[in-house]
């Protein structure tokens, strides 16, 4: 242990980087002060290396260093206390010491260890005389004070080392800043660039010199100012710690690119917001790919519809014998062609449906609906199919009111129940229920089919994922049904999941918003676009929302709302009678503001 400690001590000494450095006034003055204070001919500020004692500062006729074994100080560094030897001739440890019997004829020694900040005793401050001395407690205290001053100087050395290390580290990070392919910016509280890296300069096409001092908004696409400004303001005000946003930037030549910015806040020593750090990635290629993909899906989908309609129509007429009775084999081929065309039509329709749902291009128009209304409409669609398959459908519903778009939810239920019927054995039962579950409605579709393996319970909601690849052919599904159901449920701020014990059937569950359960927010604005934005923001926050285009409609809908969110200001008095009014300023960052308002409501 002792050996290990000595290695650590030597490492601490090395890290001071002081051994064999030239004399320094800050240490010399301590040695002189000690000599005068204690009236001694010899004083040392020394460091104890592995095999030698090296004198950083020295008063008196001594060499620059002494072999460690010959020193008094080797004992001093053993303990935190000072070592005091009033008369070497009376101390059997030192009476025959070479430095006592020979030069410099030490009779008196008082030494105090010097420690690093980590507590390693790396050196000593000592005072030496050639005649015996009395060294009382007051003098010990003085020696202690003086050694503290020496320690401070030693540790200042450490500070300058730390500074050098910091400089190295700063250089490394600067190199990263300079060389990375990601654009980096530092922006001050006024929204002006303080520093940009070459990657950002290159993206924007403005030199770093010209960018410094320029407002961020000068290179931000005007169409994105409204979404960029509030986020930046909230960050630099210290209200948020960071944000991610996709926004367009413009170059001096008028061209633009899509950037994904990740911004965070740099605080000063007092913890106050100082600078915003932005990392900007050029995502124009990704945006373009997304656009092309969406367009492709949409164009191909619509272009496929027209010829498919003709094919299906022609085959239907042929199969029905409208153009004359077909011979047996020809009739069979026509039937196969017609059935597969039906599947293709379904696939195209569902692909377009899903595409529109996922991009929020489908209007969800929730209103208060009774479960029976949903179940009746669903039964009308699925009952014939269930009869055909010999599967019984049973229904149950609590007395409650949901806040959903009935058309969409019926579409989802039809998908779920048809799916359950498809995988159910004949003469079994598919049970659908709608019940209250706290502040939400819980919809369950239970079948007695073969079930779903545990590792597939989540994957089945992805596109073209079926438990068994052969299902798609056998069961005639498109592989899109459950993905559509999930998209619909998510548009209602709901959740969907499957539970199953393989061999014992599966249960699909959906949560949907209840009307008047102390969660629903009414949204009112005369402007359609603004109204939709507000509604989306509330739903993203996870609350059901219902939109109104006039105060009259809102008043007519009556109570049941937690609050009314408004952006337009007219008719406020009427609205306030219905529920507390939360106002959103048109200039604000909508999503953040809605989050704040709703969080305030939840506290």
């Amino acid at each position: 242990v002792r050996y290990v400690l000595e290695l650590d001590r030597l490492a601490a000494l090395r890290s001071l980087d002081i051994l064999d450095t030239p004399p320094e006034e800050r240490f010399d003055r301590i040695a002189r002060l000690a000599a005068a204070l204690f009236d001694v001919p010899i004083t040392l500020v020394s460091l104890m290396a592995e095999e030698r004692q090296w004198h950083k500062a020295c008063v008196g006729p001594l060499e620059a260093e002494t072999p460690r074994a010959l020193t008094f100080c080797q004992y001093t560094i053993e303990t935190p206390q000072p070592l005091i030897i009033p008369d070497t001739h009376l101390d059997e440890r030192f009476v025959t010491h070479p430095m006592v019997i020979g030069e410099p004829h030490i009779r008196f020694y008082a030494g105090h260890p010097l420690s690093t900040v980590d507590g390693y005793r790396v050196g000593t401050l000592c005072v030496i005389d050639t005649r015996p001395r009395d060294f009382g407690p007051e003098q010990v205290a003085l020696l202690h004070d003086l050694s503290r001053i020496a320690e401070d100087e030693l540790n200042h050395t450490e500070l300058s080392q730390a500074l050098a290390a910091w400089r190295t580290s700063e250089q490394r990070f600067r190199a990263v800043f300079q060389d990375t392919a990601i654009g980096m910016t530092l922006v001050d509280r006024d929204g002006l660039f303080v520093e940009v890296n070459p990657a950002f300069s290159a993206m924007i096409g403005i030199s770093d010199d010209d960018l410094r001092g320029l407002p961020v908004m000068a290179v931000t696409h005007p169409g994105d100012h409204d979404q960029a400004r509030p986020r930046m303001a909230a960050l630099i005000a210290g209200e948020i710690d960071g944000y991610r946003q996709e926004r367009r930037y413009v170059r001096p030549d008028g061209s633009m690119f899509w950037g994904a910015i990740t911004a965070s806040l740099l605080r000063d020593a007092e913890g106050l917001p100082d600078l915003a750090i932005g990392m900007v990635e050029d995502i124009s290629d990704r945006k373009e790919m997304e656009r092309i993909k969406d367009e492709l899906v949409s164009v191909v989908g619509h272009e496929l519809r027209t010829p498919l309609t003709s094919i299906r129509g022609s085959l239907g007429l042929l199969e029905a014998g409208v153009a004359g009775e077909l011979p047996g084999e020809a009739a069979k081929m026509v039937r196969i062609a017609r059935e597969n065309t039906e599947r293709l039509v379904r696939l195209v329709n569902e692909t377009l449906d899903l595409e529109r749902l996922q991009h929020g291009r489908v209007d969800v128009d929730p209103r208060p609906v009774a479960p029976s209304e949903l179940l009746d409409a669903t039964a009308k669609v699925v009952q014939p199919f269930a009869d055909e398959q010999g599967v019984e459908l049973t229904w149950a519903a609590d007395d409650l009111e949901l806040l959903v778009d009935p058309d969409r939810i019926v579409q989802a239920l039809v998908n779920l129940i048809a799916n359950a019927v498809k995988f159910s054995p004949a003469a079994s039962c598919v049970h659908t229920s709608i019940e209250r579950d706290g502040e939400r409605a819980l919809v369950s579709v239970v079948d007695a089919g073969r079930g779903i393996p545990p590792d597939q319970l989540e994957a089945i909601f992805e596109r073209f994922r079926q438990v068994d690849a052969s299902d798609r052919r056998e069961k005639g599904g498109t592989g899109l049904g459950l993905a559509i159901v999930r998209a619909i449920v998510e548009q209602h701020a709901g959740r969907i999941w499957a539970e199953s014990e393989p061999g014992k059937g599966a249960t699909f569950r959906i949560t949907l918003p209840l009307h008047g359960a102390g969660t629903t927010i009414a949204v009112y604005d005369r402007r359609r676009q603004r109204r939709e934005e507000l509604t989306r923001a509330v739903r993203r926050h996870g609350r059901p929302a219902i939109a109104f285009d006039s105060p009259e409609a809102l008043v007519a809908a009556g109570g049941g709302f937690v609050a009314v969110l408004v952006a337009g200001a007219s008719g406020l008095d009427e609205i306030a009678a219905v529920a507390p009014v939360l106002e959103v300023d048109a200039a604000e960052d909508l999503e953040t503001r809605v989050d704040e308002l709703l969080e305030g409501l939840e506290r």
Partner: protein
Amino acid sequence: MRLLLIDDEPDIRAIATLALERIGGWTVVGAGSADEALAAASGETPDIVLLDVMMPGLDGPATLERLRPVLGVQVPVVFLTAKAQPGDVERLMALGAAGVIAKPFDPLRLSSEVDAVIGRSSR
């Protein structure tokens, strides 16, 4: 009974013609544009007109405007449209249509849909 069918898609015209003639017993005259329709209507007046809404050049409503003076007010006109939301239907009915049939139609049921619109009993 003569039926004037106006649709710019020749395939759709062929399918609808077959279905209406063989299943419904209509005599179908096809037209691919407003001009063709005007020519056909000014010959022998049809008993009913099926008119596609979305056509290049003159669309369904514009075609109806040209056609009405030739047809007179008595001849029922039924629109065929891919956009058959309640609002769309209302707008088309306001133009003086006798009815609206949604596209894509099932050719096997087209004839009975036409019958239903004009109140003719199925044969």
